[in-house]
Amino acid sequence: MQGLKKMRMPLIFLLVALLFPLFTDNQYYIYVVTLAFIYAIAVYGMNLVGGYTGQLSLAHAGFFAIGAYALGLLTVDANVPYWLAFFLALVITTVIGTLVGLIALRTKEHFFAIYTLCVGYIIYLIIYEWDALTGGVRGLIGIESPAAIGPITFDTGISNYYLILVFLVLTVIFMKFLTESIVGRTYVAIRNSEELAQTIGINTMKQKLISFVISTFLAGLAGALYASFVRFIGPDISYTMMTFDFLMYAIVGGFGTLFGPVVGTLLIVILTQSLQFMEDFRMIIFGPLLVLLVIFYPRGIVGGYQMWKMKRAYKKKQRSVDQGSTYEGGD
């Protein structure tokens, strides 16, 4: 019962997500929310390595694009069956992620951020310039929709919506189990202090690499879903702007929180779409909002909410327990 109560908000959210397509006929709304779900999966990857393990990887859009291009090229050019291509796209992203991680993680803190920023830009350049393989600036057109699984087909917007929702829910469950376990605690210990983590016996290099590889896996997953959902990809999905969009979603929702990525991504994507009429002037609204949020809620919306709840629960407990604590070492 306690667990159910704790999961009340996410379950309500899930219910709304499940029923949402039934309440709107507007394909555009469904399209936007589906896109937000895809981005949220990628943001979960960034959140794991950046928010939990404390290694800010700015190559994330690069891995998103690798997943997308791998799927696109395998299905369009190599005629590989969709789900096999999907699987291979994940493998390819993860392998490249491992190789990059092995080198990148030799650097620390801002050097790591700068290094991965460069890696991301190199991935962009490769996609942009390697015309023969990627189609360069023209991009890749005519990527097929996800192939049918048994009787279930994915050729409509709504079926894609549910498919991607399933992947998002799986991602959230995966992250929940991972981050709430002792394995997740290991990552948080590294974020907190790598020095201290080592002295309590954690092989920080190995743990950082694992979390980095998982993050690239999630980026690749999101990328592959993106490719077959939008059905057209261009080099701009690997551009630095995309990484910073992901980062913004994560920060707004709450870096290092379980539900931060989904909250932040949905909020910002929907807000961006509804403020479309303002064009680039949107940033006049976003900029100050982001600054205020970072100042007053450094752990984002979800982080701020959790902190408030924790403090309240503690005060409540203090009041119910009798005033005289046996321990006298308080401040």
């Binding site: 189990f177 002792i182 394995v183 605690r185 290991t186 201290l196 309590i200 016996g201 092989n203 694992i210």
Partner: protein, 258 residues
């Protein structure tokens, strides 16, 4: 001897921070390392705990050479340490900070976590119990669910002790445990260190508070400019001419204040 160093030397560029130091730490005893600021005490700790590689010399633990071992492997052998500054996770509870201390005795990986295998459940239970046990040992069982940022400086020191103890060590290195806390709290912390010895642990500490050291330590090693200048019982150290000259004498305010 539980830990022995021979000819241990560490150079940072032209600076010799630790110079040909030979010390032995006896099992079940409290060994204190003292010396003026910049004498190389913390560097010595960093060498033994594997945080810095040594330039020369050797370190053995129970006869096993650990000179070239990495810090996380040294921790697994049963050598724990605390830092001068308590770098704890401030916005997490005391309990959450300590649970991860037992991680090195567990084997669960990402797959265990995602599929919630019996091994993971068992090891999480063990880590939680260990954390509760060490928090009780350091006297923080009532603060377990408070945020670290809300507890006192002394309590934070105790959390750092608890974290080190959660690794199931045989020896604990404490880097200035009594820095920044008042005399009463210092006395409480000294009592806790004695309690650790009673439990069969070995303690080695760096400390500037002379009164505390003289009452607590079984064996004292004095470093100055990276070199060992004396060692012996508190009485021997107090009467050692060279030590008085280097450290206690010359109107050293810090020592006198105690």
């Amino acid at each position: 001897m539980l830990i022995e160093t021979k000819g241990l030397t560490k150079r940072f560029g032209g600076l010799v921070a630790v110079n040909d130091v030979e010390i032995g730490i006896e099992k079940g005893k409290i060994t204190a390392i003292i010396g003026p600021n910049g004498a190389g005490k913390s560097t010595l700790f960093n060498l033994i705990s594997g945080y810095h590689p040594s330039s020369e010399g050797s370190i053995t633990f129970k006869g096993e050479d650990i000179t070239k071992k990495r810090s996380f492997n040294i921790a697994k052998l049963g050598i724990a340490r605390t830092f001068q500054t308590t770098n704890l996770f401030e916005t997490a509870t005391v309990m959450d900070n300590v649970i991860v201390g037992h991680r090195l005795r567990t084997k669960s990986n990402v797959f265990d976590a995602v599929f919630r295998t019996p091994r993971l459940r068992r090891e999480e239970q063990a880590s939680r119990e260990k954390a509760a046990e060490v928090l009780e040992f350091v006297g923080l069982e009532h603060e377990a669910h408070r945020l670290v940022q809300d507890i006192s400086q002394e309590a934070k020191k105790r959390v750092a002790f608890a974290l080190a103890l959660a690794t199931d060590p045989e020896i604990v290195f404490l880097d200035e445990p009594a820095a920044g806390i008042n005399p009463d709290e210092t006395e409480n912390l000294a009592a806790l260190i004695r309690k650790m010895i009673d439990r069969g642990l070995t303690v080695c500490l760096i400390e500037h508070k002379m009164q505390m050291i003289m009452g607590l330590a079984d064996h004292i090693v004095v470093l100055n400019y990276g070199k060992k200048i004396a060692e012996g019982t508190p009485e021997e150290i107090q009467t050692n001419e060279e030590v008085i000259e280097a450290y206690l004498g010359g109107g050293d305010k810090h020592a006198e204040a105690e």
